[in-house]
């Protein structure tokens, strides 16, 4: 009996090291004030700075309130005291985006890979492995990260926050249909999930309280239009995340190409 429990204990440890997000040191700053950011991975006791190398980051930019894209790569210093610094002169709400390539690989034993697919809600992948008779086979995937965070510069209401509800062009993206920074306690936060530009149905979206993130606060499946609606508990540091995968060509060395997407923000109401 004890031997059977041991791998399950380690499964519970390992299954939590999936999520990735941009974490600003503060969600609100004065015009021109530097905003320090770190790249975080994992939740609860397994949360840590991501060891991702800078060469894998293909896009790090901010979308200004007027829609202009600002390249933030000069402010990257991955692995330092923090991972990036950005400063914005004009007041308004900025959406900072980060994307990586998909050259990261994950190779897991069958039991862990199946558990990871189940935890992240990747039911099409489970169905594919089941129909191919590969549930006992180890799983390998390439994966990429697509993270967004919302920061506010200057006083609230100084500029219309129009870009928050618009897609930023990420391969897998969580797009809020209402500005999360203006939703009060208990208010509805509808989001739409896009995968390669089209609404994605059946994706498991999780809402995490970054101050108590051992377990998600809420989980929703996106509907046929790719929409999911959450209730924001109130003021705090929040993060939404979603994962999606697609099978690789048979000639590929891995089985799946997986995208991880997140949206982090600080609710101040």
């Amino acid at each position: 009996m004890p031997l059977r429990f041991a791998p399950l204990c380690l499964l519970a440890v390992a299954a939590d090291a999936h999520d990735f997000w941009l974490q600003p040191a503060r969600w609100q700053a004065a015009p021109g004030e530097p905003i320090r950011m770190t790249l975080q991975v994992g939740h609860g006791p397994y949360r840590q700075r991501s060891p991702i190398p800078a060469r894998r980051i293909v896009r790090f930019a901010a979308i200004a309130p007027n829609g202009r894209q600002i390249d933030l790569r000069p402010g990257m210093h991955i692995g330092g005291a923090d991972d990036a610094t950005a400063a914005f002169g004009a007041p308004g709400t900025y959406v900072v985006v980060l994307e990586t390539d998909n050259r990261a690989e994950s190779h897991l034993p069958a039991i862990r890979f199946n558990d990871y697919l189940k935890v992240e809600g990747l039911t099409p992948a489970i169905a594919l492995r089941t129909s191919a008779g590969r549930m006992d086979a180890d799983g390998a995937e390439n994966y990429s990260r697509h993270a967004k965070t919302i920061v506010r510069v200057g006083l609230a209401g100084a500029q219309p926050a129009s870009r928050v509800t618009k897609p930023a062009g990420l391969a897998l993206e969580i797009v809020p249909e209402a500005d999360p920074l203006t939703i009060g306690r208990g208010g509805a936060l509808p989001v739409r999930i896009y995968y390669r530009g089209t609404p994605l149905a059946g994706a498991l979206v999780k809402l995490n309280d970054l101050d108590h993130d051992a377990e998600p606060v809420a989980m929703r499946r996106s509907d046929a239009q790719g929409r999911a609606v959450f209730r924001l508990p109130g003021k705090g540091n929040w993060q939404l995340n979603v994962v999606w995968t697609r099978p690789q060509p048979k000639t590929s060395l891995t089985d799946f190409d997986t995208s991880f997407s997140s949206l982090s923000f600080g609710a101040i109401e």
Binding site: C9, L10, V13, S50, A104, P109
Partner: protein, 162 residues
Amino acid sequence: MRDPHLALALLGVATGGLTVGFGRKGGVLLGAIALAATVGAVLPTPDAGTGEPLLALAWGLIIIAAGSLWLPDRLRPHALNLVIAIVSGGTAGLLGRVAGVGTLGWFAVALTFSTVVSILLARKRWRLPIRVVAGWLVAIGALNATLTILPVTPGYLPDHLE
């Protein structure tokens, strides 16, 4: 830190059911456990990194407490039981401080239940079943203690870190 609930519950069973139930001056031992646990629980919170060593210590104490039941009575002086009681209580208190004071409930409930059961069994002189249980606890403790010091095999490395 790995989940401490099972370790705390089995530490309660080993300390209460075996050390107290089959030791002399059970009242003194129970008091020592409670005092040590309280002291451990009110100390300044240890660093989060002390969680795993405390967990390993808890499993080691389970082995010691359970294994000592196999010793002849002349080799189980009251002093040994008292030391086991104090160190177990303190470890449980510190572990509860790191993992959350609510986890101490597992230790307290297991301690209480196993103490009552073992006192009843001791009066009937039913030592053999208790020694069998002690053997199981030694095996479970040895397995879990080993897991905390083994290098992680590649299949169990944390995944998706980049």
